[in-house]
């Protein structure tokens, strides 16, 4: 190994950053024992390292290699690099030992930090030295979540001949994408892309589709997981039902339809949407009078079903399956616009969220795609007036679209939800296409049109005379009888108050409500915004700390459909790689510090 290298290990911490669960002194103590380490120093956050001072120290201690360790040491690398250069050393000998990047977030953070420092001292990439032990792998795969990412991953794995269990919480696969009509930037229709894939999943002999089901418990270790899946009772046999709608017509109960974003109602016995897969009815136990009354009342559908497929005695059942890999593709929930009063959602009837507008403009939506304002109508059953969408309702003369509702805001979600700029531009296009003489305003902060063909789409919208106003609108107020949207137009340096008929709130994306429970079951952790944490932001955006469990799509962070589909295929690659080679990946946590350090030492020697 030549003359013993004189290595300096500096522990640096940014102030005001929420620290990782790592005992720095223990790690520093451990670092002192590593070969070639001449100097270890735990620096306090303030003052920030000054390259000139550091250069002097490095020269004085004649250090040949400098390891910068900490939660995210990258912040200090330029300072140390310049210091080493000033001290006449070799700048490439500045190495990083990043606790955050290499997963020191879990409770065994200190052990992991020691291993990370060891690899840095030996000059070996952490991934190489800490590659988890291979494990035997059961070729079957569990995919949790039936959105576009789950469908793509399931299809890709099943098409390669491997067994897939697809578990979907709602009554049908398709997720949020199924709700959309046109998708940016090519405006091709979401159904044309998604429905054939859903049909393929429904008919695929390698895919065992379990809808209206949730993962209850996961046991076992990487390559051999035993999963308990709770299959909630559908009360209608999905394979036999031919969706003749007879039962639905006689069902008296009407509840807000989740699929339609609550802008129309569905019956207690319902099919989420006409192209659902499985293409069958199910009963919403929480709304069905027959079930709630313990079988005493109603039961109209029982008599109407010609093939007698409705069995109210069905009970939830728990199914146990054995799989080698688990793909988490649980998607997202939409930000609840009610949480920001100043936009008046819930107060003004014609303030809609993005999902409601998607359904409104959808050809198979309640108004057949016509953009209309809500009309007041007396509900016969509840004897109250309610605002509903009627196909012949009045057309809005002016529409305002507000970006970043609930996103880029420390009081709600500090992160950018990445897709709202583009779908808002799409909305502007739909408004101008369907209502050519309507006025359309769009309030934005940064127009984030970053993908392929996105910028051209943004230019096209501008040509369609959409008033694109830089400055997020502040509030919606009632002014002399009309709904008025207030904001600052920064480019024209003026306050604007536009009377509008309809306001669209481009609500951001939030982690799915049950994702904290699921993270607990699976043993994977979530980042500070609640999205599942990936092993490495750059080179392993779909892996997790536990071997054999992968994440794909928006559950790992907001992204648009092309990126979600690409991630789903990437996860399929990981699964196929382990299945085809018969060698799965264990959890990195099962490796001890000694193992990693000795492997790093060996690799350094080679």
């Amino acid at each position: 190994m030549g003359v013993p290298k004189k290595i300096g290990v500096y522990f640096c911490q940014k102030e005001a950053a929420l620290p990782m669960p790592v005992d720095w002194d223990a790690v520093a103590e451990y670092a002192r024992g590593l070969p070639g380490v001449a100097h270890v120093e735990v620096r306090s956050p303030r003052p920030a390292p000054d390259p000139e001072v550091l250069a002097h120290e490095i020269k004085k201690r004649d250090l040949k290699v400098v390891v910068v360790a900490g939660d995210s040491p990258g912040h200090f690398k330029p300072a140390f690099t310049r210091a080493v250069a000033l001290a006449g050393g070799e700048p490439t000998e500045v190495r990083l030992a990043s606790f955050r990047q290499h997963g020191a977030g879990a409770d065994d953070g200190t052990e992991r930090a020691k291993a990370v420092v060891a690899c840095a001292v030996h000059g070996v990439p952490f991934g190489l030295a800490a590659s988890p032990r291979p494990t035997a792998v059961n070729p079957a795969t569990l995919v949790i979540g039936g959105g576009v990412a789950g469908i793509q991953a399931a299809l890709e794995i099943a098409d390669a001949g491997q067994k897939v269990y697809l578990v979907e919480k709602t009554g049908t696969i398709g997720g949020h994408m199924a709700m959309f009509d046109k998708t940016f930037p090519t405006l091709d229709c979401a159904a044309c892309i998604l429905t054939p894939k859903m049909v393929a999943v429904g008919q695929h002999e390698k895919i065992d589709l379990m809808t209206y089901a949730e993962v209850q418990d996961v046991a076992g270790e990487p390559g051999a997981y035993r999963v308990k899946v709770l299959k909630k009772a559908r009360f209608v046999d999905p394979d036999a039902c031919v969706a003749c709608h007879a039962c639905m017509e006689v069902c008296p109960v009407a509840v807000p339809s989740e699929f339609d974003g609550g802008i129309t109602t569905r019956k207690a016995i319902y099919m989420p949407f006409p192209q659902a897969v499985p293409n069958a009815y199910l009963v919403d136990a929480a709304a069905c009078t027959y079930i709630l009354s313990g079988g005493k009342k109603c039961g109209a559908c029982l008599r109407k079903c010609a093939k007698e497929l409705i069995h109210f005695d069905d009970r939830d059942e728990v199914v146990e399956i054995e799989v080698g890999s688990i793909v988490v593709a649980t998607g997202y929930d939409v930000f609840d616009a009610r949480r920001i009063e100043r936009y008046g959602y819930g107060v003004h009837p014609n303030v809609l969220t993005a999902l409601e507008f998607e359904r409104l403009t959808n050809a198979s939506g309640p108004t057949g795609g016509a953009i209309v304002m809500k009309t007041l109508r007396r509900n016969k059953r509840t004897k109250q007036d309610e605002w509903v969408f009627d196909a012949e309702g009045p057309r809005p003369g002016s529409v305002a679209i507000v970006h970043c509702v609930g996103s880029r805001d420390k009081k709600y979600n500090p992160y950018c939800s990445r897709v709202c700029c583009m779908y808002s531009l799409k909305f502007a296009h739909l408004v101008k296409e369907k209502l050519p003489d309507a006025v359309c305003y769009e309030f934005y902060i940064d127009m984030r049109a970053f993908g392929k063909g996105y910028e051209e789409f943004f230019e096209r919208i501008r040509l369609e005379e959409v008033f694109v106003v830089r400055g997020r609108s502040a509030k919606v107020v009632e002014k002399d009888g009309r709904m008025t949207i207030k904001g600052e137009d920064i480019l024209k340096d003026r306050l604007v108050e536009f009377p509008v008929d309809m306001v669209l709130l481009s609500v951001g994306l939030e982690p799915a409500c049950a994702s904290d429970r699921l993270a607990g079951i699976l043993g994977i952790d979530r980042d500070e915004d609640g999205w599942f944490r990936e092993t490495d932001y750059n080179i392993d955006p779909t892996g997790t700390e536990r071997g054999g469990i992968h994440v794909a799509g928006v559950c790992q962070g907001p992204k648009d459909i092309p990126d979600a589909v690409a991630q789903a295929s990437a996860v399929a690659a990981r699964v196929l790689k382990s299945v085809v080679s018969g060698r799965g990946q264990g959890s990195r946590a099962s490796l001890t510090v000694e193992e990693i350090e000795s492997r790093a030492r060996a690799l350094a020697g080679a």
Binding site: I445, G471, G487, R494
Partner: protein
């Protein structure tokens, strides 16, 4: 001609309390939410932008910080928690220091130790002066508080008060003139006819006494408290400056002392309320306190307290000696407050605020006039 950007200005204003301005990403929420932001003065975003970019000239001539009454709604709505309300407050402090030609204000704002040291020094000098006067030249002696042979004769104090008044008025006057020069005088593009100055002059007393703009805030209580404090202070000033004889007379002249007691209650009540607010940090405009805020409030409580104490000691307990001592102590508080705080620190806003309303109205009128001229010039062109 392009203006030079200066990245150091933000660092400088951090001394005045603007820690979070750099976070602002210009969504325009604050300006749209602000109840006062109207054409042609859209704020606080624009002012924060000038600060971020270091456009010192623009910021110096900008009256908008004075139009903000810190109702705090913008800071509550700010998605980046860039504290626009507190940033405008810090700009007011910075402007106060820049209007002051002596540089003392800048010294006070940048180091509270200096301000405290100055106050103590002036207090000691005042104390020594009055004691010296009382024992050597005044002719009276410690035992007598008022009337014939009083330790501190009314006449002397009266003269002293007026001299002090004129000194601080001079300083304040020059600073106000500088304020006019920075905001209107220097600006070649805006021509304000002299007649307009007269026409709008009524605004000065109106805003000075009613602070009616503060009342336009959503929450009315801050305005009420501030008005009470303002009126009590003015009453006390008038009593001291014009009715000192009545105040200092042996028997209680209810016409004067009545108002005096009322004003003191007002002063004590409001300043203690403000102190408690700043300690509990619940309301937005009390969340951030600069050192000068604390010094100013404590001094106010001290002066009001000692003022009432000396009166009670004399009128109720007839302890002339004690009353005299407290009187000296009272003066040791009054002189620094009037001599230092008024021209060089937070207290100067009693002049700057009404002036700002006055000047901004002139500016607004001139801007409207210019736009009308431009529009008029544009219109008659042959179609």
């Amino acid at each position: 001609m392009a203006i030079r950007a200066n990245p150091r200005l933000v660092e400088e204003l951090e001394h005045y309390g603007a820690e979070d301005v750099a976070k602002c990403y210009h969504c325009g929420n604050c300006s749209a939410v602000c109840p006062f932001s109207r054409e042609p003065f859209l704020f606080p975003r624009k002012s924060m932008r000038y600060l971020q970019m270091g456009l010192e000239e623009k910021l110096l001539g900008n009256l908008e910080p004075w139009l903000c009454y810190y109702c705090g709604e913008c800071s509550e709505e700010c998605p980046r928690e860039a504290e626009p309300g507190e940033t405008m407050m810090s700009m007011r402090r910075w402007l106060t220091s820049r209007y002051d030609f002596t540089g003392i204000s800048k010294l006070f704002y940048r180091s509270w130790k200096a301000e405290l040291a100055a106050i103590l020094l002036v207090a000691l000098l005042t104390g020594a002066g009055f004691l010296l006067f009382g024992f050597r030249w005044g002719g009276g002696h410690l035992g007598v508080y008022a009337g014939e042979g009083a330790f501190l004769t009314t006449g002397a104090v009266h003269v002293f008060d007026w001299i002090l008044g004129c000194v601080l008025a001079a300083f304040l006057g020059i600073n106000c003139a500088r304020m006019w020069w920075f905001s209107i005088g220097k600006d070649r593009t805006l021509r304000i006819p002299p007649l307009a100055y007269l026409r709008q002059a009524f605004l000065l007393p109106v805003h000075f006494f009613t602070q009616k703009r503060y009342a336009e805030c959503g929450k009315k209580r801050p305005w009420a408290i501030h008005l009470a404090l303002m009126l009590s202070y003015t009453t006390m000033l008038v009593l001291i400056m014009f009715f000192l004889h009545a105040m200092h007379s042996e028997r209680t002249v209810w016409a004067a002392h009545g108002f005096g007691y009322l004003a003191t209650i007002g002063l004590l009540g409001t300043s203690i309320y403000a102190l408690r607010g700043r300690i509990r940090k619940e309301e937005t405009h009390y969340k951030h306190s600069h050192e000068t805020d604390w010094i100013f409030l404590i001094l106010l409580v001290f002066v009001a307290g000692t003022g009432i104490l000396q009166n009670v000691l004399y009128r109720v307990f007839h302890l002339d000696v004690a009353a005299n001592v407290v009187y000296v102590v009272h003066m040791m508080g009054v002189v620094p407050m009037l001599g230092l705080e008024v021209p060089f620190s937070k207290w100067a806003h009693l002049a700057y605020r009404p002036l700002a309303m006055y000047f901004s109205e002139l500016q607004a009128e001139a801007i409207r006039e210019r736009e009308r001229a431009v529009a008029a010039a544009g219109a008659p062109l042959p179609a």
